[in-house]
């Protein structure tokens, strides 16, 4: 129990009349990068919101760092980066971070640390509105890193970035994990799977595989994560006792952004 950063039991989430997540079980170890992969609309954001504790859940439980998700002490220990860069456009990068640091209760010097970590020192005095999408994303990430939370929940942090920036970000994630931070990172770019320590493949509100990158390729006998994912979906929908409702695979390849 102590070694798990996140434990979900029978998690159910309803949105309107439909059940988005129905009876999800999950265990995420500490101190690693956990990739949450799946097509847009598969419930990644909903699951992450449940972990952060901002999602109303219909049943089951989510424990984070051995406490109920969203409970007051966790608000200092969990950093959350939403899919859209949630920062103030009419403030400078530094003013944004300074405010979030004070809310987080982090020392003022922490602002410089996260600026440096996310390679934003040169942009510190620019208005957030004038930043490129990738830079705004990094400000949002920097804000989540304030106060060095033990768990970072990052919702599609690399979406819409060019390959170089994406590689930079993954380097930042790796360094954080080396320092002992647990990272739950969602993505719908299957190539990013190989950069994670563990993989959770999600589809239609369920975890269809909980594995490591090597194991994923080995067990499916495929060369790329994308193929492996397709293979698992085939297995998942054909296998005995599996869920019967399946959608065509084109759904999987959709590149649209998630909800919100």
């Amino acid at each position: 129990m102590m070694n798990n950063a996140i434990v979900a039991r029978g998690l159910r989430v309803r949105r309107g009349r439909s059940t988005v997540i129905d009876g999800l079980d999950l265990e995420v170890p500490r101190g690693a990068i956990i990739g949450l992969l799946g097509p847009s609309g598969s419930g990644k954001t909903t699951l992450m919101r449940a972990v952060v504790g901002v999602q109303i859940i219909a049943g089951g439980s989510v424990m984070v760092l051995d406490r109920k998700a969203g409970s007051a002490p966790l608000r200092r220990r969990v950093g959350y980066m939403t899919q859209a860069a949630s920062i103030y456009e009419d403030l400078s990068v530094r003013a944004n971070l300074r405010y979030f640091a004070r809310v987080q209760g982090a020392p003022p010097a922490d602002v410089d640390r996260v600026l440096e970590r996310t390679d934003l020192v040169g942009q510190a005095d620019r208005l957030a509105r004038t930043l490129s999408g990738g830079q705004a994303n990094r400000v949002s990430l920097a804000a989540a890193m304030l106060g060095s939370p033990e768990l970072l929940v990052l919702d599609e942090p690399t979406v819409g970035l060019d390959p170089v920036l994406r590689a930079d970000l993954w380097e930042i994630f790796r360094r954080l994990a080396d320092d002992g931070t647990t990272l739950l990172v969602s993505s719908h770019v299957m190539d990013e799977a190989t950069r994670c320590d563990r993989l959770l493949l999600m589809r239609e509100g369920a975890i269809i595989a909980d594995t490591t990158p090597d194991e994923l390729l080995r067990s499916t006998g495929t060369a790329s994560a994308e193929e492996a994912f397709l293979r698992i979906i085939e297995r998942d929908s054909a296998g005995p006792g599996s869920r019967t409702r399946t959608k065509p695979a084109r759904h999987l390849l959709s590149r649209r952004g998630g909800r919100r």
Partner: protein, 244 residues
């Protein structure tokens, strides 16, 4: 809730407004221009002397309603509110932070408007000036509190702007500017008597004529404060940490 986080929020809101000089200029100049216009319209009559004080009640209220409802709606839509509520920020920190920041703005706005109305437009204030400020600030805070509430029911900026007529116009119509409240049909008079802006208008009238004692004005202020507290409580209930 902690003073540090409340003050940090107020400081952040003021910093955001500072980066938008045009909004500051509009906030400070527009009320005076409109008061000037009203004074000019009634130049040949003595009407301005009786409705001028009410004008001072209207502007802080309307402007703060709009500014607050739109900025909190922006927080809800941009995801910054969700981020803040996933952090150790109390809901009270958020609301009080906004109230403080806009309360300060309201003081400056009222100072400019009162200065213009008395020095340029010739409005006479027989009662105490600082009571007038207190009423105007209570008025501005009322606008802030109601704006916060309105933003919870709006999904878009268009809707929020439509809420202004809903929350504000009936109060102007029933407040006694167009027709003194005792002359309204009974039902409307009762409704008008319970609306906060009516009391702000009464209080400012009393301050400008100096006819009533301070207790009369403080009672009006107390009534407005009750509305503010009510709106803030209901408004804070709409700030949910967990959302569907």
């Amino acid at each position: 809730m902690t003073p540090m986080r409340t003050l940090a929020t107020a400081g952040r809101v003021l910093l955001q407004i500072r980066s938008d000089p045009r909004t500051i200029a509009l906030l400070l100049v527009v009320p005076s221009l409109l008061i000037g216009l009203v004074a000019w319209i009634f130049d040949e009559t003595d009407v301005f002397a009786s409705i001028g004080p009410a004008m001072l009640a209207l502007f802080p209220f309307i402007v703060m309603f709009l500014v607050t409802s739109i900025s909190t709606l922006r927080e809800r839509r941009s995801g910054t509110l969700e981020r803040l509520l996933s952090m150790p920020l109390g809901r009270g920190d958020f609301i009080l932070g906004y109230t403080l920041a806009f309360g300060l703005l309201a003081i400056v706005q009222t100072a400019v408007a009162v200065g213009y109305a008395t020095l340029v437009c010739g409005l006479t204030i027989d009662g105490s000036l600082w009571l007038l400020f207190i009423v105007a600030i209570a008025d501005a805070l009322l606008g802030t509190a109601l704006g916060l509430l309105a933003s919870a029911f709006a999904r878009t900026e268009f809707q929020v702007v439509q809420f202004m007529p809903v929350f504000v116009f009936p109060q102007i119509l029933l407040g006694g500017i167009f027709l003194p409240r005792p002359q309204l049909p009974d039902v409307l008079e009762v409704i008008g008597d319970w609306l906060p802006l009516s009391h702000a208008i009464d209080a400012l009238d009393a301050v400008s004529t100096g006819d009533e004692d301070d207790a009369f004005i403080w009672l009006r202020v107390l009534f407005i404060v009750c509305w503010i507290v009510g709106a803030v409580i209901v408004g804070s209930l709409t700030l949910r940490r967990r959302t569907p």
